[in-house]
């Protein structure tokens, strides 16, 4: 009896049907990132430099609050592994602010100005109140220069 009144607040059909987002990678130079909207929330698409990738891969899992290898994080849902492309949510896992990018913070990745969470160059939480890494959405490579999120 109560359920219809509770459930009406959950995402509605049109919200759920929100199309997936295609991103053209050719426009993003190395060392730069763009923000795209997917399902009403921003996503980072970063073209990482060699140094960033090496730094991310050299971190041992024991140093991490939410252990995940960089390879796991940079692999698309179709299994393509191109470490120069990092696609992940742009909402801090603490309370949802958009972190500052381009090597910000103490771990040369992202820094959230709201409550001071530091992420490394793989988007993994290293310091501050955020509990988890920036989540990686499902995405696939449509071609060499195009991905589809969702």
């Amino acid at each position: 009896m109560v359920w219809p009144f509770v459930d009406q607040m959950n995402p509605s059909g049109d919200t759920l049907a929100l199309a997936s987002t295609e991103v053209d990678l050719s426009q993003i130079p190395e060392g730069a990132q763009i923000k795209v909207m997917w399902r009403g929330r921003p996503m980072f698409v970063r073209h990482r430099t060699k140094a960033e990738i090496e730094e991310a891969q050299s971190v041992s899992l024991s140093q991490l609050k939410d252990p995940q290898t960089d390879e796991d994080r940079a692999t698309a849902a179709d299994g393509t592994y191109r470490p120069e492309w990092l696609v992940m949510s742009a909402n801090c896992t603490h309370l949802g602010c958009v972190p500052l990018g381009d090597g910000a913070g103490e771990y040369n990745g992202w820094f959230c100005p709201c409550h001071g969470s530091h992420y490394d160059s793989s988007g993994r939480i290293r310091k501050g109140p955020a509990p988890t890494n920036l989540p990686v959405p499902e995405y696939v490579f449509l071609s060499d220069t195009k991905i589809k999120i969702g």
Binding site: M9, P11, T15, G40, V98, P113, C114, G116, P129, P131
Partner: protein, 415 residues
């Protein structure tokens, strides 16, 4: 509502009505003949002031709703239309936005008074708990109202506060995410969120109104506490509410309205935040997110704890404590006027609360976090350790035998 009624209906209509629906009797017993301690000071005028605040907020809110559009594409514009084109729209909106601040200013003073004079103690525990419920409802209402103009602070405030619930993922994985998705009606704060916040923002004030009615009812059963904290012993220690307190409260209300008007007419944006005049942008977080000033102490407590779930629990716990306060402080003497040690700790408590407010307004850097942690610690210690211990250890000083005795002795001192 309490005690034998003193109302004597005139023959004719009044008697006819009294036998069917004793409205006039009710009004007479609660607002006219109601026996009120004669030694109440100005700190007791905030109840009346708060009633005025609530009524003003409801009236201005209803007319603003006639001109507001709850849609992410139109909300900001519709608020600006109210400011520019709606007749007296600027006045109504500034009254409503500053009115919220005034409401909280008055409620904090009202609560500080209750803490100082022990107004939460028997037989007024339910009165106090109803007050805490009103405070919680006010916070929810104010938060949702602040989202409606759909500026940057609206959006990011909604984002941060609704995300508090995602911390429950640390208890049961997925629980927090389901709650936030349910609150948002989507995968982020968006149009469905704005729409439901508007609906609830319109509803909650009437819920507050109903709880206020219960609060007043619960006040009229034992009657007012007073600065001595000693219960009324004889009728000679009271005066009828009208005209004695209607006039005194009326004076205080007008002084309060002058402060209110000073903000509305001469500095209407002083209590707001410049970023909220920038339309909401989900891609850019403002460099420095702060809630409205009245939430700052609680925001500081949230940030004082480095763990996400911990911070959320501390913040909600700080208000939860107020519910059990009547059973934490078991001291027999109500008024801190006669509790020299407790009084000092009370002052420290007020200072800690203000310090928390200051910390909440600053970026969360090293020393600020440490100060906030100390102040948060004191906040909890005050309720959980200091008050229970003092109830056992402190010897009250110079408690008079009655209100009359207290009045006489202060008279002597005065001469």
């Amino acid at each position: 509502m309490s005690g034998p009624s003193t109302y004597k209906p005139k023959p004719g209509f009044e008697t006819w009505l009294d036998q069917r629906l004793p409205l006039i009797r009710f009004a007479n017993d609660t607002m006219i003949d109601f026996p009120t301690p004669k030694n109440l000071n100005y700190w007791w005028t905030f109840g009346g002031i708060l009633a005025v605040c609530l009524v003003l907020q409801i009236i201005t809110g209803i007319v603003l709703a006639m001109n507001y559009v709850a849609h992410t594409d139109l909300a900001f514009q519709s608020v600006e239309r109210i400011m520019r084109d709606v007749n007296f729209g600027w006045l109504l909106r500034y009254m409503h936005s500053n009115g919220a601040s005034m409401f909280f200013l008055a409620v904090y003073l009202h609560m500080a008074r209750g803490l100082y004079y022990g107004s939460y103690k028997a037989p007024r525990e339910i009165l106090w708990i109803l007050g805490v419920i009103i405070f919680l409802l006010m916070m929810a209402t104010a938060f949702m109202g602040y989202v409606l103009p759909w500026g940057q602070m609206s959006y990011w405030g909604a984002m941060v506060i609704t995300n508090l619930f995602s911390s429950f993922d640390q208890l049961i994985p997925g629980l927090g995410t389901s709650i936030t998705t349910w609150l948002w009606g989507g995968f982020s704060v968006d149009n469905p969120t704005l729409n439901r916040f508007f609906s609830l923002h319109y509803l909650l004030p009437f819920v507050i109104f109903a709880v206020v009615a219960l609060h007043v009812w619960a006040l009229h059963v034992p009657g007012n506490n007073n600065p001595t904290g000693i219960e009324v012993k004889s009728k000679s220690e009271t005066v009828p509410f009208h005209p004695y307190y209607t006039v005194k409260d009326g004076f205080a209300i007008v002084i309060f309205l002058m402060l209110f008007a000073a903000f509305v007419f001469f500095n209407p944006n002083a209590l707001g935040h410049a970023d909220n005049y920038i339309p909401a942008d989900p891609l850019v977080t403002p460099a420095h997110i702060v809630p409205e000033w009245y939430f700052l102490p609680f925001y500081a407590m949230l940030r004082a704890v480095p763990d996400k779930l911990g911070g959320v629990l501390v913040m909600f716990g700080s208000i939860g404590l107020l519910f059990i306060l009547p059973w934490l402080d078991r001291a027999k003497t109500k008024s801190m006027r006669y509790r020299p040690i407790a009084k000092q700790f009370w002052f420290l408590f007020i200072i800690a609360f203000l310090v928390l407010g200051y910390c909440g307004s600053q970026p969360a850097d090293g020393p600020i976090v440490l100060v906030a942690q100390i102040a948060t610690g004191y906040y909890f210690a005050y309720f959980l350790i200091i008050l229970p211990l003092l109830a056992k250890l402190e010897t009250p000083k110079g408690v008079p035998t009655s209100i009359s005795a207290a009045v006489l002795s202060s008279d002597k001192k005065g001469q």
